[in-house]
Amino acid sequence: MKLTLHVWRQSGPNDVGRHERYEADDVSEHMSFLEMLDVVNERLTERGEEPIAFEHDCREGICGTCGMMINGVPHGPKSMTTACQLHMRSFRDGDEIWIEPWRATAFPVLKDLVVDRAGFDRIIASGGYVTVRTGSAPDGNAMPVPKDDADAAFDAATCIGCGACVAACPNASAMLFTSAKVAHLAALPQGQTERWDRVLGMVETHDAEGFGNCTNHGACETACPKGISIDYIAQLNRDLIRATLNAKPVGNGTRG
């Protein structure tokens, strides 16, 4: 199949950037989207041009490294699918495809389609951990966890931190990501010690990073390749309200 690509090219963080048009001939429908870009890059390299920079790692849909706006949709048209798992059979011969990086103040473009997602790491660092006793491994099932809680925690934990929620959100909010990380640990007994500190710290960092606010559009849920539910955002809101308005002692309490 033959495709026309409009790819965002930006040589570095300070370049203004522009869309470049590329004709991709002999694309096989069995290629993944990233393999299609690999072929385009090969042609570019042969012509002595700079290949298109994009991030990728596992190419199995589990690491969260790849991700780009494909025709205005994070990870492209197929739901619950990362860009690396998207195949060219989802497109038709002669299609025009617009490929852009995630757009958010908190995700500055480093080069072409690569954005700096260190903001996510800083959100994690400000609360996405639990305190455990080190030494010998604890006995299995020593701490009973109700099945519903375990399932809720696991569903939240499937977040791969790709940033599609931020990219899709009209407000560039990272609430779906943050809420998944908060809810994942808040659902488990091991996460209770730091529960209130966690939500305070992570929301504070979320805001400080320059992510927007959630206006309950639900675009993030639609875009999420792991199908994380916005119910977790409601849970984050509830935990934050409880952490700030309740007189509960707040962990080791550096805040409030």
Partner: protein, 230 residues
Amino acid sequence: MSRVATLYRSTVGKKVLMAVSGAVLFGFVFVHMVGNLKMLFPPDAAGHYAMDVYAEYLRDFGYPLVPHAGVLWIARFVLLVAVGIHIVSAVQLARLSRAARPRGYAKEKSLSLSYASRTMRWGGVILLLFIVYHILHFTTGQAHSSFVAGAVHRNYVVAFQSPIVYGVYFVAQLALCFHLYHGVWSFFQTLGLSHPKYNHLRRPFAVGFALVVFVGFLTPPTLVLVGVVS
């Protein structure tokens, strides 16, 4: 207090204010809608319209414990504060959103769940303009063709005999319906009123609430326009 300040400083805290002030306003809108249904009743034996009796009751509510129109003014003050908080929060949050994505996409496809969620901000502006017009129209009377203070039933009928006035109110109610649909659902979401067992009821409740308000507000004017109520 410092914890309350922490909540307020966060984007979530501003949304909480949005939700709580919004709840005050949708409570008001519902009661207002129920009050307007008085237009459907014929006058009593003494020739008093139910609407006029109700309007008098609102002015005298709480008397003689409080002065005439005392409770009415307290209610107006509370509503004004709620509208103020709602607008200030909306402006703050809209500015944060703009700062969070100054540059949009060349090709954009909306993945939002509803048309209503995408039109909250402009819908809100339409509603604000409508409220100003509505107060000038039925409370102070400057925007009314022949306003008579206290003759609520008469003012109402005269106003809605004009298809233009009816059209303005119809558009405003449509905007309100969309605003309420997303607002009521968002209220639950923002305050964390979420439970796996009851979450499936939140959307239908929001739809039901918005539709009841829409139909309730527009029934009397429609009957005036077609000449059933006079």
